[in-house]
Symmetry: C2
Protein backbone atom coordinates (compact mmCIF):
# COMPACT_ATOMS: atom_id res chain seq x y z
CA UNK A 1 0.00 0.00 0.00
CA UNK A 2 1.34 3.39 -0.82
CA UNK A 3 0.47 7.04 -0.80
CA UNK A 4 -0.43 8.06 -4.36
CA UNK A 5 2.61 8.68 -6.60
CA UNK A 6 3.50 12.32 -6.66
CA UNK A 7 1.86 13.01 -3.33
CA UNK A 8 4.30 14.29 -0.76
CA UNK A 9 3.46 15.38 2.76
CA UNK A 10 4.00 19.13 3.19
CA UNK A 11 6.46 20.67 5.62
CA UNK A 12 5.18 20.47 9.22
CA UNK A 13 2.85 17.56 8.45
CA UNK A 14 3.01 14.73 10.98
CA UNK A 15 4.44 11.35 9.91
CA UNK A 16 3.75 8.49 12.33
CA UNK A 17 6.18 5.60 11.85
CA UNK A 18 4.91 2.25 13.13
CA UNK A 19 7.48 -0.56 13.10
CA UNK A 20 6.16 -3.98 14.09
CA UNK A 21 7.25 -7.57 14.31
CA UNK A 22 4.42 -9.99 13.52
CA UNK A 23 3.73 -13.20 15.36
CA UNK A 24 2.83 -16.05 13.02
CA UNK A 25 -0.73 -16.13 14.38
CA UNK A 26 -4.01 -15.29 12.65
CA UNK A 27 -2.84 -14.02 9.26
CA UNK A 28 -6.41 -13.81 7.94
CA UNK A 29 -7.62 -11.77 10.91
CA UNK A 30 -4.60 -9.53 10.70
CA UNK A 31 -5.10 -8.87 6.98
CA UNK A 32 -8.80 -8.12 7.48
CA UNK A 33 -8.14 -5.73 10.34
CA UNK A 34 -5.30 -4.01 8.45
CA UNK A 35 -7.54 -3.33 5.48
CA UNK A 36 -10.35 -2.10 7.73
CA UNK A 37 -7.98 0.22 9.65
CA UNK A 38 -6.51 1.63 6.43
CA UNK A 39 -10.01 2.39 5.13
CA UNK A 40 -11.07 3.92 8.45
CA UNK A 41 -7.89 6.04 8.70
CA UNK A 42 -8.50 7.38 5.19
CA UNK A 43 -11.88 8.78 6.31
CA UNK A 44 -10.44 10.73 9.27
CA UNK A 45 -10.00 14.51 9.20
CA UNK A 46 -6.41 15.47 8.46
CA UNK A 47 -5.46 12.15 6.84
CA UNK A 48 -2.91 12.70 4.06
CA UNK A 49 -1.85 9.17 3.11
CA UNK A 50 -0.11 6.00 4.14
CA UNK A 51 2.85 3.85 3.09
CA UNK A 52 3.13 0.26 4.25
CA UNK A 53 5.47 -2.68 3.66
CA UNK A 54 6.09 -5.99 5.39
CA UNK A 55 8.90 -8.40 4.54
CA UNK A 56 8.97 -12.18 4.64
CA UNK A 57 10.71 -11.99 8.04
CA UNK A 58 7.56 -10.47 9.55
CA UNK A 59 9.03 -7.02 10.13
CA UNK A 60 6.69 -4.34 8.86
CA UNK A 61 6.75 -0.57 8.61
CA UNK A 62 3.67 1.59 8.16
CA UNK A 63 3.96 5.36 7.90
CA UNK A 64 0.78 7.41 8.11
CA UNK A 65 0.78 11.10 7.25
CA UNK A 66 -1.43 13.67 8.96
CA UNK A 67 -2.07 17.37 8.48
CA UNK A 68 -1.17 18.21 12.06
CA UNK A 69 -0.57 16.83 15.53
CA UNK A 70 -4.26 17.10 16.48
CA UNK A 71 -5.42 14.84 13.64
CA UNK A 72 -2.66 12.29 14.35
CA UNK A 73 -3.65 12.17 18.02
CA UNK A 74 -7.34 11.92 17.20
CA UNK A 75 -6.62 8.86 15.06
CA UNK A 76 -4.58 7.33 17.86
CA UNK A 77 -7.53 7.87 20.24
CA UNK A 78 -10.21 6.63 17.80
CA UNK A 79 -12.22 3.94 19.64
CA UNK A 80 -12.15 1.38 16.83
CA UNK A 81 -8.44 1.93 16.29
CA UNK A 82 -7.75 1.51 20.02
CA UNK A 83 -9.78 -1.71 20.12
CA UNK A 84 -7.85 -3.09 17.13
CA UNK A 85 -4.58 -2.13 18.84
CA UNK A 86 -5.63 -4.26 21.81
CA UNK A 87 -6.20 -7.24 19.51
CA UNK A 88 -2.82 -6.54 17.95
CA UNK A 89 -1.09 -6.82 21.32
CA UNK A 90 -3.02 -9.98 22.15
CA UNK A 91 -2.45 -11.79 18.85
CA UNK A 92 -0.60 -10.18 16.00
CA UNK A 93 2.54 -8.52 17.31
CA UNK A 94 5.57 -9.67 19.22
CA UNK A 95 6.74 -6.08 19.52
CA UNK A 96 6.29 -2.70 17.96
CA UNK A 97 7.44 0.85 18.25
CA UNK A 98 5.74 4.04 17.27
CA UNK A 99 7.72 7.13 16.35
CA UNK A 100 5.85 10.38 15.81
CA UNK A 101 7.67 12.93 13.69
CA UNK A 102 7.22 16.24 11.98
CA UNK A 103 8.11 16.59 8.29
CA UNK A 104 10.95 18.99 7.51
CA UNK A 105 11.42 18.34 3.76
CA UNK A 106 10.44 15.84 1.11
CA UNK A 107 11.11 15.09 -2.53
CA UNK A 108 10.45 12.32 -4.96
CA UNK A 109 11.81 10.80 -8.12
CA UNK A 110 10.09 8.86 -10.89
CA UNK A 111 11.64 6.99 -13.78
CA UNK A 112 10.97 8.71 -17.07
CA UNK A 113 8.79 6.63 -19.35
CA UNK A 114 11.02 4.79 -21.78
CA UNK A 115 10.60 5.97 -25.41
CA UNK A 116 10.06 2.38 -26.51
CA UNK A 117 7.10 2.82 -28.83
CA UNK A 118 7.52 4.26 -32.32
CA UNK A 119 5.28 7.20 -33.22
CA UNK B 1 16.62 -5.31 9.33
CA UNK B 2 15.68 -3.39 12.40
CA UNK B 3 17.01 -1.00 14.96
CA UNK B 4 17.83 -2.99 18.11
CA UNK B 5 14.76 -3.78 20.24
CA UNK B 6 14.34 -1.27 23.01
CA UNK B 7 16.25 1.40 21.12
CA UNK B 8 14.15 4.43 20.42
CA UNK B 9 15.31 7.61 18.73
CA UNK B 10 15.26 10.54 21.17
CA UNK B 11 13.16 13.64 20.75
CA UNK B 12 14.59 15.95 18.06
CA UNK B 13 16.48 13.13 16.36
CA UNK B 14 16.11 13.06 12.56
CA UNK B 15 14.22 10.18 10.93
CA UNK B 16 14.68 9.89 7.17
CA UNK B 17 11.88 7.89 5.54
CA UNK B 18 12.79 6.38 2.16
CA UNK B 19 9.87 4.77 0.29
CA UNK B 20 10.81 3.02 -2.93
CA UNK B 21 9.29 0.87 -5.63
CA UNK B 22 11.74 -1.68 -7.00
CA UNK B 23 12.11 -2.63 -10.61
CA UNK B 24 12.50 -6.38 -11.11
CA UNK B 25 16.08 -5.92 -12.30
CA UNK B 26 19.35 -6.99 -10.69
CA UNK B 27 18.16 -8.44 -7.38
CA UNK B 28 21.67 -9.70 -6.50
CA UNK B 29 23.29 -6.34 -7.13
CA UNK B 30 20.56 -4.57 -5.21
CA UNK B 31 20.93 -6.87 -2.20
CA UNK B 32 24.71 -6.47 -2.22
CA UNK B 33 24.52 -2.69 -2.41
CA UNK B 34 21.83 -2.54 0.28
CA UNK B 35 23.99 -4.52 2.71
CA UNK B 36 27.04 -2.39 1.89
CA UNK B 37 25.11 0.86 2.38
CA UNK B 38 23.65 -0.33 5.69
CA UNK B 39 27.13 -1.19 6.95
CA UNK B 40 28.55 2.12 5.73
CA UNK B 41 25.71 4.14 7.26
CA UNK B 42 26.29 2.43 10.60
CA UNK B 43 29.85 3.77 10.64
CA UNK B 44 28.85 7.41 10.11
CA UNK B 45 28.89 9.97 12.92
CA UNK B 46 25.42 10.53 14.33
CA UNK B 47 23.96 7.24 13.08
CA UNK B 48 21.36 5.93 15.53
CA UNK B 49 19.83 2.97 13.70
CA UNK B 50 17.74 1.79 10.78
CA UNK B 51 14.48 -0.06 10.11
CA UNK B 52 13.83 -1.63 6.72
CA UNK B 53 11.09 -3.74 5.15
CA UNK B 54 10.13 -4.66 1.59
CA UNK B 55 7.02 -6.56 0.60
CA UNK B 56 6.46 -9.05 -2.20
CA UNK B 57 4.93 -6.24 -4.32
CA UNK B 58 8.35 -4.51 -4.43
CA UNK B 59 7.36 -1.57 -2.24
CA UNK B 60 9.96 -0.95 0.43
CA UNK B 61 10.36 1.44 3.33
CA UNK B 62 13.66 2.20 5.03
CA UNK B 63 13.83 4.60 7.95
CA UNK B 64 17.25 5.74 9.12
CA UNK B 65 17.66 7.61 12.40
CA UNK B 66 20.27 10.31 12.95
CA UNK B 67 21.33 12.40 15.91
CA UNK B 68 20.76 15.67 14.10
CA UNK B 69 20.17 17.33 10.75
CA UNK B 70 23.91 17.72 10.10
CA UNK B 71 24.64 13.99 10.35
CA UNK B 72 21.62 13.11 8.19
CA UNK B 73 22.77 15.59 5.53
CA UNK B 74 26.36 14.34 5.70
CA UNK B 75 25.14 10.82 4.99
CA UNK B 76 23.07 12.06 2.08
CA UNK B 77 26.18 13.77 0.66
CA UNK B 78 28.55 10.84 1.29
CA UNK B 79 30.28 10.08 -2.02
CA UNK B 80 29.76 6.33 -1.94
CA UNK B 81 26.11 6.78 -0.97
CA UNK B 82 25.59 9.27 -3.80
CA UNK B 83 27.20 6.89 -6.31
CA UNK B 84 24.95 4.05 -5.14
CA UNK B 85 21.92 6.34 -5.46
CA UNK B 86 22.86 6.91 -9.09
CA UNK B 87 22.92 3.16 -9.70
CA UNK B 88 19.56 2.93 -7.92
CA UNK B 89 18.01 5.41 -10.35
CA UNK B 90 19.57 3.63 -13.31
CA UNK B 91 18.61 0.08 -12.32
CA UNK B 92 16.80 -0.67 -9.10
CA UNK B 93 13.99 1.80 -8.62
CA UNK B 94 10.93 2.79 -10.60
CA UNK B 95 10.24 5.58 -8.15
CA UNK B 96 11.04 6.70 -4.66
CA UNK B 97 10.35 9.44 -2.23
CA UNK B 98 12.39 10.72 0.66
CA UNK B 99 10.78 12.40 3.63
CA UNK B 100 13.02 13.97 6.25
CA UNK B 101 11.44 14.40 9.65
CA UNK B 102 12.20 15.35 13.21
CA UNK B 103 11.16 13.02 16.05
CA UNK B 104 8.60 14.45 18.47
CA UNK B 105 7.87 11.35 20.60
CA UNK B 106 8.36 7.60 20.57
CA UNK B 107 7.41 4.55 22.58
CA UNK B 108 7.57 0.82 22.21
CA UNK B 109 5.84 -2.33 23.36
CA UNK B 110 7.16 -5.86 23.76
CA UNK B 111 5.22 -9.01 24.46
CA UNK B 112 5.93 -10.32 27.94
CA UNK B 113 7.70 -13.67 27.90
CA UNK B 114 5.13 -16.41 28.33
CA UNK B 115 5.50 -18.33 31.63
CA UNK B 116 5.55 -21.58 29.69
CA UNK B 117 8.44 -23.37 31.38
CA UNK B 118 8.03 -24.90 34.84
CA UNK B 119 10.62 -23.92 37.44
Amino acid sequence: MSMAPGDLPPKDAVAVIFVSQRTEADEAGYERAGAAMAALAARQPGYLGMDSARGADGLGITVSYWADEASARAWRAHAEHAATRDVGRARWYDSYRMIATRVTRAYDWHRAAAPDTPD
